[in-house]
């Protein structure tokens, strides 16, 4: 039995590996500028926010460019994964209807690929930090892996939930777009936590994504990690991942019927 379990895990790894290679190949085959796009999108947003909030509205934040960039890249990972989640199973309908394989490997691969893109963008973030004479800190060595794992769990949980539920409620896709847009503005990405009025400060801690984004920014800009936030973020991630998996487990056996 143990051996069987090991075989199952090994096969799951093989599946994720070939699926990841497939997605990467497809992405870079159809556009040579694949990497450019994944980096260019958050940078373009950074430029827009810089113009509207720094140049026009004169926001009082030091090093506003890197302030934006250090939060926009982790946000991009979240938003890409969550917004492509609704189509993860629908886009593989023929496979799900005909072949029995662990379906959770499909959203897993999607989130993994977005994480890889984020990791590949870290040198770009570093480049901008260096322009502002902010140097990488040793805290990165354990902070980055820890936050990667935390965010991966959180995003995978959301992705499992949305992709499974979307098979039954097909307009979830639109809802997801609306909700992520709202979440973007409720998360301290283009404004600092300190600008949030005191009586609303508690909302920051209630927003799992805010906890994560604030941690990323603290790590990139100050080489500092707030232990309480890390713990809180990891707790949220664990809960979201477990709920996501429960939803998936509950619905997975019906996938072939509703596609």
């Amino acid at each position: 039995m143990q051996f069987l379990k090991f075989q199952g895990l090994k096969h799951a790894i093989d599946i994720v590996r070939v699926l990841t290679q497939k997605e990467m190949k497809v992405k870079y085959k159809s556009s040579v500028l694949g990497y450019f796009w994944s980096v260019g999108h958050p940078l373009a947003f950074a430029l827009v926010f810089f113009i509207s909030f720094k140049v026009v509205m004169k926001i009082q934040v030091e090093n506003y460019t890197v302030f934006l960039i250090s939060a926009l890249f982790p946000w991009q990972w979240f938003s890409n994964s969550v917004n492509s989640a609704p189509l993860v199973f629908i886009g593989n309908a023929s496979l799900i209807k005909k072949v029995s394989f662990p379906r959770s490997s499909l959203p897993f691969t999607q989130v993994l690929i977005d994480m890889i893109h984020f990791i590949l963008a870290i040198p770009v973030i570093t480049f901008f930090l260096l322009l502002y004479r902010i140097y990488p800190s040793t805290a990165w060595l354990y902070g980055i892996p820890f936050l990667l794992i935390t965010q991966f769990l959180m995003v995978y949980g959301f992705s499992l939930m949305i992709s499974s539920a979307n098979l039954f409620f097909r307009d979830l896709e639109r809802l997801t777009v609306i909700l992520t847009t709202l979440l973007f503005y409720f998360t301290p990405i283009f404004y600092p936590v300190s600008m949030v009025p005191d009586k609303y400060q508690f909302l920051i801690k209630l927003n799992p994504l805010a906890v994560l984004i604030v941690s990323w920014r603290d790590l990139f800009l100050n080489g500092h990690l707030n232990f309480m936030f890390l713990l809180l973020g990891f707790g949220y991630s664990l809960v979201i991942a477990l709920v996501g998996y429960a939803v998936y487990k509950r619905l997975a056996w019906k996938f072939a019927e509703v596609l």
Binding site: D14, I15, K22, S94, K97, V99, F168, R170, E257
Partner: protein
């Protein structure tokens, strides 16, 4: 018990009709009452009280009109669907041969698709890489093997799909009307391959509308009609009976 490859015990399968729900959250809320009612109703019955056993190494043919439930039986064996009631037991590794090229990606080359498909169908990465040359040789696609498969004809995709499945080393093979595609020569090759499978003791469950193919491979036939087994037994007898209702 050990010699049973597949057994169905009083299996029922009904689908709920999800159209209210797949209409989306908005639809669901605006037509709440009727949505709840439709969720409660049984929906569409695909199989009714189906029981049979297939011994290890047996080759069974399934015949019947479209929509009689043959494909549902295969999907239940493959583990893609779960029965609403009753028990499905499967002993051994299954090769789902349900749709050639399910899971192929049009932008990837033939070779890359072999790897992708083989792993999804249950083989390890190393095993596929080891068999790669053999699979390519069997498919006989020449230089096309390095081309993205969007440039393939449907017959060529079927060849590639069959070649992957033919090298999976299954215990149980499920075949769903796949021989309709491909040219005569390749069809013959497929039939030959299936005969070798049969000699090797692979259990085969074969859905086909061609009496000739069935009598060549199968030792027993089940005839599905109106969502249940109408008749099961020796190939000639069942096929004759089946043919007489078709006229």
């Amino acid at each position: 018990m050990k010699n049973i490859a597949v057994s169905f015990e009083h299996v029922y399968k009904s689908y709920r009709l999800y159209h209210h729900v797949t209409g989306g959250v908005k639809n669901f809320l605006f037509h709440f009452q009727s949505s709840i009612n439709s969720l409660r109703s049984i929906g569409f019955e695909a199989l009714r009280d189906v029981s049979f056993e297939i011994g290890r190494g047996e080759a069974i043919g399934l015949v019947g009109r479209n929509g009689a439930g043959k494909s549902t039986v295969l999907a239940l064996i493959a583990g893609v669907l779960q029965p609403s009631r009753g028990g499905v037991t499967v002993n051994g590794r299954i090769s789902p041969f349900l749709e050639l090229g399910a899971g192929f990606h049009p932008e990837l080359s033939g070779k890359e698709n072999i790897l992708l498909n083989g792993v999804l169908l249950g083989l390890s990465r190393e095993a596929i890489l080891k068999k790669m040359d053999e699979i390519i040789a069997f498919a006989e696609l020449g230089d096309f093997i390095d081309q993205p498969i969007r440039v393939y004809s449907s017959g060529m995709i079927a060849r590639l799909g069959f070649s992957v499945v033919a090298h999976l080393d299954p215990d149980i093979l499920l075949i769903d009307e796949i021989l309709a595609v491909g040219d005569a020569e390749f069809q013959k090759k497929c039939m030959d391959k299936m005969t070798t499978f049969k000699e090797r003791g692979v259990t085969m469950i074969f859905v086909s509308h061609s009496p000739r193919d069935i009598s060549q491979i199968c030792s027993r036939v089940m005839w599905f009609d109106n969502h249940t087994v109408k008749m099961a037994g020796a190939v000639e007898r069942v096929l004759q009976e089946y043919a007489s209702t078709q006229a």
